[in-house]
């Protein structure tokens, strides 16, 4: 019986192709909006989360300007922070931009990053070829460096750079490894620049004449459920160090950033869904209008079907089926268009766009609900038609 209803509805939809299409346009637009917006927002936020996640969880970032009297952080400060209960390691960050000369070519604006062994241990998937900097390199101020894959492609053009030397600010450094881009670092994520060369941070301090560290990543234990006590202790240390002076330092807690991103995501999704619902409401009214016209047009047919023994309920089911099919058809087209737009957006913004099954379910569910809600009244009207009046109107 349902099969008959579906067949009849489909025939009727096909019969009036243009009218059916115009009717479901509102639904198509509504669902397209929902799918495209939710998918793109989710992709954006997932993308940012993934970047944060790879280094971010259980990480604190300290940007310490300090006070005029106590600038930045000293070696002693670094050691003390490293000793705080729950801290598993620290990675100082220092960088500068220089020009590199090699075989007669000048490479301008090369970013040199000073790091320690903890940074490379922590980001073990950073190294593509060779090795990262180790504790002997850092403590012994060895003249070794790790270069980024981009830098390798630019300067060495297919040659294996490991074992070769480059000149950094007048000193010769041996290349021991190649790292992947370097954009996984929280620092580069914050500053937006990527590192070209990594050398032991103490070497870079000497080369630039700095004896203070202004930027530091603090890694916290991942055994603790709640790491607030660790960040509190770090905060306490810095407050004491700088005498509670305002703006002397900035502490970024990655976990709370992640939480914030999740809040933003759910807020955006809710707001966008609300807006798209308005389009669906308009689409639903369009369907109701079309169904009412359809009932009027097919008065005789309805009368005949009733005369031949169709129960009122059956007529109702048939018209409801038609309304639902119309609006679900609109929903499916909306999903296709919405996903297409999402993938185009993803390609333009250069981010991976995952198919959001939740959004698809929402699209189908919403459109089906619209069909039921707005198809109900016309279907009821059809089922209540008096067969005598219906047949008389020939």
């Amino acid at each position: 019986m349902l099969r008959e209803s579906i067949k009849m509805s489909w025939e009727n939809i096909i019969q009036n192709k243009l009218r059916s299409f115009l009717t479901i346009l509102g639904i198509i637009i509504g669902v397209t909006a929902i799918i495209a917006l939710i998918t793109v927002v989710q992709a954006l936020i997932t993308n940012i989360n993934e970047q944060f996640d790879s280094v971010g969880a259980n990480t604190l970032v300290i940007n310490a300007q300090g006070t005029p009297l106590k600038q930045g952080l000293s070696d002693k400060d670094l050691m003390e922070i490293n000793e705080i209960d729950g801290v598993t390691g620290i990675a100082p960050s220092i960088n500068t931009t220089i020009d590199i000369y090699r075989e007669g070519t000048v490479y301008e604006d090369i970013v040199v990053d000073g790091k320690n062994e903890t940074f490379f241990n922590r980001n073990s998937d950073l190294i593509l070829i060779g090795r990262g900097l180790n504790i002997l390199d850092v403590n012994g101020k060895n003249r070794v460096c790790v270069i980024s894959a981009d830098f390798m492609n630019k300067v060495f053009m297919g040659e294996n750079p490991v074992g070769q030397d480059i000149s950094i600010m007048g000193s010769s450094y041996r290349i021991v490894g190649v790292a992947d881009g370097g954009d996984d670092s929280v620092m580069t994520l914050m500053s937006g620049s990527t590192s070209d060369i990594y050398i032991p941070y103490k070497n870079l301090m000497s080369l630039t004449g700095q004896n203070r560290i202004y930027s530091l990543e603090v890694y916290m234990t991942d055994e603790a459920e709640d790491t607030t006590y660790i960040s509190d202790a770090v905060e306490q240390y810095l407050d004491t160090l700088y005498n509670y002076k305002d703006n002397s330092y900035m502490l970024i807690i990655m976990d709370s950033l992640l939480d914030m991103m999740k809040d933003v995501q759910s807020m955006l999704t809710t707001a966008l869904t609300a807006i798209a619902s308005i389009a669906l409401l308009v689409g639903g009214i369009g369907i109701m209008n079309m169904m009412l016209v359809s009932v009027t047009e097919r008065t005789v047919e309805i009368g005949l079907r009733k005369a031949l023994g169709a129960e009122p309920r059956l007529i109702q089911v048939q018209f409801l089926t038609e309304a639902i099919m119309l609006s679900v058809l609109g929903g499916i087209l909306g999903i296709v268009v919405g996903l297409t737009i999402s993938f185009i957006c993803g390609a333009v913004m250069d981010i991976r766009v995952p198919i959001s099954w939740g959004a698809i379910a929402l699209g189908v569910g919403f459109s089906a609900a619209v069909g039921i809600i707005f198809g109900f009244a016309p279907a009821k009207k059809a089922s209540e038609l008096n067969p005598i009046d219906a047949l008389r109107s020939v």
């Binding site: 019986m1 025939e11 005949l304 009733k306 031949l308 023994g309 129960e311 009122p312 047949l391 020939v394």
Partner: protein
């Protein structure tokens, strides 16, 4: 003693038009035996359409008793009436009333769908019925590809395919030329000879004369026999 298929006692039907209540059927007693071919003859406005609606279970009388094939109709609700129409009545309309978007086979299948007959069986039954009507080679045709006479035969097939107790025809030749009309009447005689009960409503006394019995209706009152005026 012939078996009574349909029995109406003291049927009254009133319509309220504005403030005024109008009695369209005035205390009608009417019965039909199994296997009879009866004409109800009357001019327009005589109440014959209302009579047909009540016989066809499309409407219920304001008062009176109506027993069809042993069942009391007068108090039935819409769902029960739908079942009765499907099972007991085969409608044949003046303007055929075929669904123009469906093939003639699908048109004949329609009442079988509502009778919840399986897909395979209703296809077979509808095809066999059309075969009998000489339309076996046109099953996939649409109504507008057929002549008026052929369309009326499709409509008759649709009425007969459910094996109803009564064939109820409303001006069955009204939309046909004389020759085709005569062929349809021929078909009615055949169906009647097979034992089918036929009630035909018409304003045309020549058509009415094909029936074994003529009942006249005028101004809501029914009278047996006679073929003079009308």
């Amino acid at each position: 003693m012939p078996e009574k298929l349909l029995e109406m006692t003291d049927i009254v039907k009133c319509y309220t038009i504005g403030e005024e209540e109008q009695m369209v059927l005035k205390h009608i007693d009417f019965s039909v035996n199994k296997g009879e071919f009866v004409s109800i003859l009357g001019p327009s406005g005589s109440g014959k359409s209302t009579m047909m609606n009540i016989i066809g279970c499309l409407d219920v009388p304001t008062s009176g008793r109506y027993i069809l094939n042993g069942k009391e109709i007068a108090d039935m609700d819409q769902v029960e009436l739908a079942h009765i129409r499907n099972k007991e009545i085969g409608f044949i309309f003046q303007s055929f009333q075929l669904l123009k978007r469906n093939t003639i086979l699908e048109n004949v299948e329609l009442p079988l769908i509502y009778a919840k007959v399986s897909r395979k069986e209703r296809r077979e039954r509808a095809a066999a019925m059309l075969e009998r009507m000489g339309l076996g080679n046109k099953l996939d045709f649409y109504p507008n590809q057929l002549s008026g006479g052929q369309q009326q035969r499709v409509a008759i097939s649709r009425a007969v395919v459910t094996q109803p107790s009564i064939l109820l025809a409303d001006e069955p030749t009204g939309a046909l030329d004389q020759k085709t009309g005569a062929q349809v009447m021929e078909l009615f005689h055949e169906l009647n000879d097979e034992g089918r009960t036929i009630i035909m409503i018409t304003h045309d006394k020549h058509i009415a004369e094909h029936a074994g019995r003529i009942v006249k209706i005028l101004d809501g009152v029914m009278s047996e026999g006679g073929t003079e005026d009308a």
